[in-house]
């Protein structure tokens, strides 16, 4: 800890409390997720609410959301000003919806996978697993340039 609560938290403080690497926190700044002020010497000074922002980012990422998506949601909030409980509740609710959707998608795909074990289908054209509907259900990994809209 810096010991000087007068000027807010240092990047090292944030790192220590969130477990994020200092470099990651700086990286997030370039992506508009946090926007710290600077002290006289040019060092970043964070508000306590930034802890909450970062915690939200970490949670959302663990749930499989991309930084871009997350940034969009955080953009809805006051930039520097502290997050109110209402703000937090609002974005949390939005995410709850997304999480629910994702769980639903996974459940459906699981069930269809079960179905496919029995059906022994080789023809993908009629395989449950490759209905376009399901594709949207869970977007997983990597640079899939086609069809990777944001759902």
């Amino acid at each position: 800890m810096t010991g000087k609560p007068s000027q807010g938290l240092s990047i090292g403080d944030l790192s220590a409390r969130t477990g994020l690497a200092v470099s990651a926190i700086r990286f997030y700044e370039t992506h508009g997720i946090v926007a710290p002020l600077r002290n006289a010497g040019g060092h970043r000074r964070y508000a306590r609410s930034d802890l909450r922002r970062l915690s939200f980012v970490m949670a959302a990422q663990a749930l499989g959301f991309s930084l871009r998506e997350i940034a969009v949601h955080l953009a809805d909030l006051p930039a520097h000003k502290a997050l109110s409980k209402a703000d937090w509740a609002r974005i949390s609710a939005t995410f709850r919806t997304k999480i629910d959707a994702r769980i639903t998608g996974l459940t459906q795909l699981r069930d269809k996978l079960d179905g496919c074990i029995g059906c022994g289908c080789l023809s993908l054209t009629q395989c449950h697993l490759y209905n376009p509907d399901d594709q949207a259900a869970a977007q997983g990994a990597g640079p899939r340039y086609l069809q990777t809209q944001q759902g």
Copy 2:
């Protein structure tokens, strides 16, 4: 379609039937996911069972599993020989387990997120969301060099 069923499927056939790009199928080969034979001219010739392999890969990816994980599971199977129904059932069952785990993780995180809305916690040290237990629950995105073991 090639029209000559004598020699198996061409890479273009696979592409047409799975929707995967030709380049992606070649890429998968370098990662040990498919291992086609070659005809006289050096062109790849796939078995029908490779359609099933690729379909499995696509499904698993949609569920958020990495190619590496998928490759490990497929390595359990006979390389060139056709997948038996039993083989398919076995890996599907394994994946079912993983899917279940993922759903469980998402559900727990959702509930904890709900809890956090109410608690208004700013101290991450005691926030439900950042219990190490939960971290393992869902590994989402990106090169997280630390702590990204394989679960």
